[in-house]
């Protein structure tokens, strides 16, 4: 190609400008801690006095000193040790973690902390590869659906011995239902980092405009569906969905949508498919009608874009079932007024999944005692209050955190009530075949959502294809 200097320059300028343009749509990369001041997105963080506008150092120091930190008989290491902590995080939360680590090191001068942060999407791949290479960190984040697989492959260490030597552990402060994901054979293998039930959220503005009463604890799913039909309005960019999203095969499909009607995706031991039982067919048929006949929930096409711009978050959905962890974001937004109540009940009762993640100590760790001291304090009631997260697993941290985050006290009380009364891990898939089962069922269900296959045929096909995959769930 005949390219003179001017053309070359034009091409070079264009090429040089593209990364800037592309960066506008790029993802937020995690910044690693370093000895020298590091940039976390916007501000420079001084490792000797970590803080930024969101988390000022003075506030952190004051709060840290005001909290009671739990005591343990597990001894501090006699000489300097370094523990590696692998977690999923975002840039903002990472500053708070840096502050926690800073104060923790003051209390435990012989424990150095090396923190590795990864995005949730890439976390499992990264650490599975490290497991294969025999180089796992001392402490590792675990999603609730991973731990049972790790336990059966002897990757994670039981915590009972450490718990017994830590009198302030306060096991009763953790919701029993939420611990089941991390337990096997009466032993606990992970300490939850967060734990929350699902709630029915509603957009008060949409209800007020339609002149309808807000949902309350008396509501059944039928009542919710009838109301959703009345609240649907508009089209295209101005469309208001009565409910979002359309239920689909997911790890907690049973607990939220099927168990109230006596149905299940898989059997309680996750070795048999039950999604084509008459109860499940009837329930999911009701939702499919709501989508295909009434257009009350987002279609597959609408979800394509809306997945990136959630209709609930953008004020285009009247009702939404999600985990209590979304309250932090809701409390901050001013676009619409919102409320939350119990998930609706069905003929068989009301169910809400208690789900969360955990930190585990790896079996390969050479510094298990130091690792315990870290997770014990980080995931204590004081640790949760220091980190100000919206869905603390420690029940004693719910109210102080809700107050600090601007979450209405009555909603925080509601969450505590649900966790104490009926939140459950029953029906929430957690065994090794979970991802395969969900991925196998999803395309079949999508064909049903497109109206290409009826609900019974879809659920029969799911049962036929998912069934053989469940052999993997027969783990020791």
């Amino acid at each position: 190609m005949d390219m003179n200097r001017r053309r070359m320059l034009a091409l070079a300028v264009a090429a040089a400008s593209m990364p800037v343009i592309a960066a506008c749509g790029g993802d937020t990369r995690q910044q690693k801690q370093a000895a020298a001041p590091v940039k976390t997105g916007i501000q420079t963080i001084d490792p000797n006095r970590p803080g930024n506008d969101t988390w000022p150092f003075e506030e952190a120091e004051k709060l840290y000193n005001s909290l009671q930190w739990p005591k343990s008989d597990v001894a501090d290491p006699a000489a300097k040790v370094t523990i590696t902590i692998a977690s999923t995080s975002d840039v903002i939360a990472e500053v708070r973690n840096m502050q926690f680590d800073y104060f923790f090191k003051k209390r435990h001068p012989n424990i150095e902390i090396k923190r590795e942060t990864s995005t949730f999407d890439g976390f499992l791949t990264k650490y599975m590869a490290q497991a294969a290479g025999g180089s796992l960190p001392d402490v590792m984040y675990n999603h609730y659906s991973w731990t049972q697989n790790f336990i059966s492959n002897n990757i994670v260490a039981p915590l009972e011995d450490f718990i017994a030597r830590s009198p302030d552990f306060a096991r009763d402060d953790l919701p029993k239902a939420g611990l089941a994901y991390f337990e096997r054979g009466g032993k606990l293998y992970g300490l939850p980092t967060d734990m929350a039930p699902k709630l029915l959220f509603f957009n008060k503005d949409i209800f007020d405009k339609a002149g309808l009463k807000y949902p309350d604890e008396t509501w059944t799913f039928e009542k919710m569906i009838e109301t959703a039909k009345k609240l649907k309005s508009g089209s295209g960019a101005t469309k208001i969905f009565g409910f979002s999203p359309t239920p689909k095969p997911a790890p907690d499909l049973s607990t939220v949508f099927l168990m109230p009607y006596g149905g299940r995706f898989l059997s309680p031991d996750e070795t048999q498919v039950q999604i084509n039982s008459p109860e499940a067919v009837k329930t999911l048929g009701m939702w499919l009608d709501l989508l295909l006949k009434d257009g009350v929930t987002p279609s597959l096409a609408e979800e394509l874009l809306l997945e990136k711009v959630d209709p609930w978050k953008s004020g285009h959905a009247a009702m939404h079932i999600n985990g209590a962890w979304i309250m932090t974001e809701l409390a901050k937004q001013k676009a619409f007024k919102w409320g939350a109540t119990h998930v609706p009940k069905g003929p068989q009762g009301r169910f809400s999944p208690a789900v969360g993640s955990a930190l585990v100590i790896t079996e390969a760790s050479q510094q298990k005692e130091a690792a315990w001291l870290y997770i014990y304090e980080y995931l204590s009631s004081s640790g949760y209050q220091f980190r100000r997260i919206s869905a603390p697993a420690r029940q004693s941290a719910w109210l102080p955190n809700a107050e600090a985050l601007g979450i209405p006290a009555e909603t925080a009380e509601l969450v505590k009530e649900i966790l104490a009364d009926y939140a459950t891990s029953d029906g929430v898939l957690r065994l090794p075949a979970t991802k395969k089962a969900v991925d196998t069922a999803k395309p079949i269900w999508e064909r049903a959502m497109l109206g290409k296959i009826d609900v019974k045929a879809a659920l029969d096909e799911i049962a036929a294809k998912v069934g053989p995959l469940l052999a993997e769930n027969k783990i020791a």
């Binding site: 749509g25 597959l300 395309p443 064909r447």
Partner: protein, 293 residues
């Protein structure tokens, strides 16, 4: 004392050794490892177990594998057919002596340097059935656009359209080829009374046939292996309509950590690519014109 030839040979080996080492460690090694792993069951957490041909037997009986092959072929054929034609036409236009020729060339190349995920987000919006640019434009002339990525029938064509948009590299290769055609050939054809179509068909196309062949071969290989943008945009949906073989391998390797099966699938992909490329080379004898043999 070493002779000059010996010294040269030593230097040759010294300079080539970093590449050789890299090739052995990071390319040949993993390829050989993948062959061995394909005969094993390995979830990364336990020691691999020898299972013989079980992964290959499973593959031949796996309907989703065949479905992914069908989707991959559809995508590959669509991408190569549309991509090769469109980019060739664009290169012909950009080769015309027009004002702002450099600007046009730069603009056509720009999509190639946009990051993949930015491209995915852009096209998710362009192809959206309700709010997308394409369907909005179609609506102005009374046509109801399809569901594109939300439709089982239109999802692959939509992905092809997006892939062709980013094919600036192919245009650059065509442009280089077009500028390498001797002007004397066109002058001779003109003296013989050839019109523009005859000059195009009897001079440009034969002279460009090696470049077209190169783009067809590399385009097919790229299309058969591609999955990243599909993963970002549709995750293989709706209803597995865009589950291409690359994505199917990725899912088994890095979502289910079923490394043995993923390795067997990778070898199937390798076999398909070799077979398609061999057929292309066999057919090339009939239509590719090399000026110097």
């Amino acid at each position: 004392m070493a002779t000059l030839a010996q010294r040269e040979a030593r230097r040759f080996h010294l300079f080539v050794s970093p590449w050789l080492l890299g090739f052995i460690l990071f390319t040949a090694g993993p390829i050989i490892a993948a062959i061995v792993i394909s005969f094993m069951e390995w979830n990364l957490l336990k020691a691999p177990q020898w299972v013989g041909l079980a992964n290959y037997e499973r593959m031949f009986g796996d309907p989703e594998f065949w479905e992914s092959i069908e989707n991959t072929v559809q995508y590959g054929v669509g991408y190569v057919a549309l991509g090769v034609t469109f980019t060739f036409v664009m290169a012909l236009l950009l080769n015309q002596p027009l004002r702002f020729q450099g600007l046009f060339r730069t603009v056509m190349y720009m999509p190639s340097v946009v990051s993949g995920l930015a491209t995915a987000l852009l096209w998710l919006n362009i192809l959206h059935p309700d709010y997308g640019l394409i369907n909005k434009v179609l609506a102005t002339v009374g046509i109801t656009g399809p569901g594109w990525l939300a439709s089982q029938e239109w999802a692959i064509p939509a992905l092809v359209l997006m892939a062709v948009w980013g094919a600036g590299n192919t245009i650059v290769i065509y442009l280089a080829g077009l500028q390498g055609i001797p002007k004397s050939l066109y002058e001779a054809a003109e003296i013989d009374g050839a019109g523009w179509w005859r000059r195009f068909w009897s001079v440009t196309v034969p002279m460009m046939s090696p470049v077209i062949f190169f783009n067809v071969v590399t385009g097919f290989i790229g299309a058969l292996q591609g999955y990243v943008l599909i993963l970002a945009m549709t995750e293989g949906g709706p209803g597995n309509a865009t589950m291409v073989l690359g994505l199917y391998i990725y899912r088994h390797a890095f979502v289910y950590f079923d490394m043995g099966y993923a390795a067997a699938l990778s070898w199937a992909m390798f076999a398909i690519i070799i077979a398609v490329t061999a057929i292309q080379f066999a057919l090339a004898r009939r239509w590719v014109h090399y000026e110097f043999k």
